[in-house]
């Protein structure tokens, strides 16, 4: 239901466009979603009885690069929103494409990272760390993939000419979702990877 359509402009008693309000509310509720996942991870931090422990598994340089990639995709997303507001459609399409590509690089990197972890013996079932880690990062990855789908459908819509500067708000709302997914990764990256065990 995060799909927003360019609703016709109609009377609102506070002037905020309902789609933007809805997205911010949805992000607030997603805060609780990821908040409780991170709380579960924190509750079980360092309490795995057996199996590979975080310091044996993590490859910090690799993950910081993928974090950097996601951060930059936030930049390209912001530029996309900026250019559609200025009415420059070709630039918008380029930035949207770039954001989608950076996003898929991030997700691809995640999948690769997970396969190396599995080879190192960290699976979903092996211990508490594996369970909480994979579910947390897995759900974040799913959110990023849904974000990429939204971006591609926006791109597709603009190619069909159905996305005009008049619907700048739709891209901005999609941008809100994308930035939110990025800052969730900012928090996960710090809490899961960087904080000492």
């Amino acid at each position: 239901m995060a799909h927003v359509h360019g609703a016709a402009e109609h009377y609102t008693s506070t002037g905020i466009h309902p789609s933007k309000l809805l997205m911010w509310l949805f992000l607030g509720s997603d805060c609780f979603f990821f908040g409780s996942l991170i709380a579960t991870y924190q509750a079980y931090r360092g309490q795995s009885l057996t199996g590979p422990h975080p310091h044996e598994i993590f490859n910090i340089p690799y993950t910081s690069i993928s974090a950097f990639v996601l951060l930059m995709s936030s930049l390209t997303m912001a530029l996309a929103v900026n250019s559609i507001r200025l009415g420059n459609m070709p630039a918008t399409r380029i930035w949207l494409l770039l954001t989608a590509m950076l996003g898929s690089i991030f997700v691809g990197g995640q999948v690769f990272e997970f396969t190396t972890f599995v080879h190192k013996g960290l699976t979903l079932e092996v211990n508490l760390f594996g369970t909480t880690f994979f579910v947390l990062t897995g759900f974040h990855g799913t959110h990023v993939t849904v974000g990429i789908l939204i971006l591609l459908s926006l791109l597709f819509a603009s190619l069909l000419g159905r996305l005009t500067p008049r619907q700048a708000l739709t891209v901005e709302v999609a941008g809100l979702y994308w930035h939110f997914v990025d800052i969730v990764w900012v928090v996960i990256f710090t809490v899961v990877y960087l904080l000492p065990y």
Binding site: T14, G15, S36, P61, N82, L86
Partner: protein, 115 residues
């Protein structure tokens, strides 16, 4: 839940065509700051300071990144304050609940449950 008490001045109308100023420069500056902070974070990871210090530095850095993205990229700084309440309210509440869970499970920065 966060609620406003008084009526807001209406939000600036949709930007198309009205405030035609280009934010590219600010966005790039923000991105550069974000990149630098990320590098700092990874550096702190490698410089093994005292446990408490590392944790606080890392948390502060990630909070900076969080705030930067929310305020600038997500345009919250210039938008109606209702939106700010609607997002920051649950965020703070979740942080409080998260800290409570960690305290109850004893993993709040020191090992061993408190019960």
């Amino acid at each position: 839940m966060a609620r406003t008490e008084h009526k807001k001045k209406p939000d600036p109308p949709a930007e198309v065509g009205s405030e035609l100023h280009d934010l590219t420069v600010t966005y790039i500056q923000v991105a550069v700051v974000l990149a630098v902070v990320t590098l700092l974070e990874v550096a702190t990871y490698y410089v093994a300071l005292a446990r408490g210090l590392t944790i606080s530095v890392l948390l502060v850095l990630s909070a900076i990144k969080f705030a930067l993205v929310v305020l600038y990229f997500m345009h919250l700084k210039f938008d109606n304050r209702i939106l700010a309440f609607v997002f920051s309210g649950p965020l703070l509440m979740m942080i409080a609940v998260g800290i409570a869970i960690m305290a109850l499970f004893g993993t709040l920065l020191y090992p061993g449950p408190i019960w």
